[in-house]
Symmetry: C2
Subunit: 351 residues, 2 copies
DNA sequence: GGAGGCTGTCGAATCGATTCGACGGATGCG
DNA sequence: CGCATCCGTCGAATCGATTCGACAGCCTCC
């Protein structure tokens, strides 16, 4: 018998009370006498009623208890990035007081019919990443009048933004290399724009991804002429591929490589070893992120440690604040330079 | 002026049509004349109406377009596991035809007030993992009459289950080791139950996690007396810690270790190296999962390759089928044994 | 010219719960 | 003993959209 599920009215009738009272028993918003409560609870279990329908409740309350997290990539891919993983971790923490769930969303729904920014019952949105799609996602959300926070991307306007001192931080790493006497330095960058295929960046204006651009600017502040090869993604094998390109010409190889992520750096190191160079004696490599790269031992990357978890948490807290009617300010986190054993003095022959 | 947002009735009035017609313009469920469509669209944009309220729509339709994915761990932690990541990947694919979003949920909400299985507006649920909490989560969902699929866990009853031939597969690895002449074999297992702290498993009945139990059974089929040390989680460092325990007593150390995951195996290998043993000459190690363990090179694990992505996709498809009114069958995937270079003949002294 | 078929639009009911002001009865206080 | 309070319960309106059968034109075809 697949008769229609019981509603709260059914329960109320069964318990001999009004629907409003029954509702209150479940929400706990108003005191109810013990006797009444029991009658309602009993009626509910007798009818197999398992609590208010979330859909109806969210319509009435105007809240769904769901925060959308918007990625630019394929969902599965997003979690391949340790930084994003950590961020999700923090985000989950940050929205905990709201008791909200996290809904995974893609910014540019390919399937068309999917649940997207515009059709998902979300109370707020967190935009992650920095692609060109960002603007349209942003418009979609703002049009709906939903609180939104952007992580690592230029939102413009009033949108609270959780960011990093990418440029300053990267400049620190570059300065570190210069202090070590390096002159021939190459950069291995993150993708220049959505859908980017690995290749040289010849024109700075071709870079539409904020993070890439900012870190690049920091490196170029110190080494204005450094050749820049942008990988197709933040993966070890992408770093390896980029490294192979950099080390292909033994006569003109860099003595130091500034990688825009730790994973890329790990790949570059591997490429260097493969080409017969020692790290850091022959080649210095710096990373970015400060994550634990499994299997990189005994190397400890010279890198910039970014507070990835804190970023997520801050985003969650910002969203929480806005949902509570408050204002949320943009936050700019600071990276900490950490010197490992992958950077050293430039080779004597090359000073 | 923060006057109330426009509703579809406002739009209809502005356009001079009935609400039903306006609704149809957005849903496209029924043909509408071009002239009418234009009038409605114009009215909508004039009023700043951005489409139907998802909450109201989902109440009426009885669908929210959201599939809940229930993990047993802290959300951030779930994505540390490459297998789960791959699975999410497949799951995202599998529910794509539904156009549904994935809502991340924890099975045992600690905060209490959180959005959980019982309060989230989900159309279906996918339960991941295998902890003891599974049963209660399951009950909660089934009571709500929501389609549910379980990945790697015994759901019992009618619940479709996406599983693996864990026992048979693990037995294969064990047989492989026996064929190589190993007699002193130890097992490094996954956690025995939720909240488990690393330690020996002395009593098989203490294992409540299905995956752990099944793989253990497979290993014990071949080596009934193998000592089993269960780690606290599937991580390299957990494997390392377990390995240190196993190799502590040089006189009585195992010549082969059956690890229940690749990450654990990687840690065990590291522990073996640390203890001065060569792999596979002195110690053979087998893993489980067939993932790419970063930084394990030049080792290639002897392991059982599981179709993690397929598992996710199958779960997604099962959910889709059930939501379409169909039936979904349980599926049992098969692991493929892959011999790498981490297993070899037992040391001659030990035959 | 009238009957029948399409198309496109409309009305009204419905989805299921929440909320807020009102109200009745019991209790406290003078 | 009477009046003011307070606590718990009830009614009724509301959240915003969807859906389905009914219906009005208009065209076609005989």
């Amino acid at each position: 018998m697949s008769t229609r599920r019981a509603t709260i009215s059914d329960v109320a009738r069964e318990a001999g009370v009004s629907p409003s009272t029954a509702s209150v028993v479940f929400s706990g918003k108003t005191p109810v006498s013990d006797a009444t409560r029991r009658r309602v609870i009993d009626a509910a279990s007798a009818l197999g009623y398992t609590g208010p329908d979330p859909r109806a409740a969210s319509l009435r309350r105007g809240r769904s208890g769901i925060v959308g997290v918007v990625f630019e990539e394929h969902l599965g891919t997003a979690f391949l990035d340790p930084v994003k993983t950590l961020m999700m971790d923090g985000l989950a923490d940050g929205v905990a007081p709201l008791g909200a769930g996290l809904l995974l969303l893609r910014d540019h729904d390919p399937s068309g019919t999917g649940s997207s920014l515009t059709t998902a019952p979300i109370d707020a949105a967190v935009l992650v990443g920095c692609s060109g799609h960002l603007r349209e996602s942003l418009d979609a959300v703002r049009a709906r009048g939903i609180p939104v926070v952007v992580i690592e991307g230029d939102a413009g306007g009033e949108v609270p933004r959780i960011g990093l001192d990418n440029r300053e931080a990267q400049r620190q790493a570059a300065s570190h290399l210069r202090a070590l006497g390096h002159r021939r330095v190459a950069i291995v960058a993150l993708p220049a724009r959505a859908g980017w295929e690995a290749g040289w960046i010849l024109d700075g204006t071709a870079v539409t991804v904020d993070v890439t651009r900012e870190r690049l600017a920091g490196a170029l502040d110190v080494y204005p002429d450094a050749p820049t090869y942008a990988a197709a993604g933040s993966f070890i094998d992408q770093g390896l591929a980029a490294g192979r390109v950099l080390f292909a010409d033994r006569a003109d190889r860099p003595t130091a490589v500034i990688a825009q992520s730790d994973l890329l750096a790990a790949g570059v190191i591997r490429a260097a070893e493969e080409a017969g160079y020692r790290v850091p004696e022959d080649v210095s490599v710096t990373g970015f992120d400060g994550i634990v790269v499994d299997g990189l031992a005994p190397y400890e990357l010279t890198t910039l440690v970014q507070p990835a978890t804190d970023k997520g948490r801050a985003a969650g807290e910002a969203v929480t604040a806005m949902l509570d009617g408050g204002e949320a300010a943009s936050i700019r986190f600071t990276c900490e330079f950490r010197e490992g054993n992958t950077s050293g003095p430039a080779p004597a022959t090359d000073r």
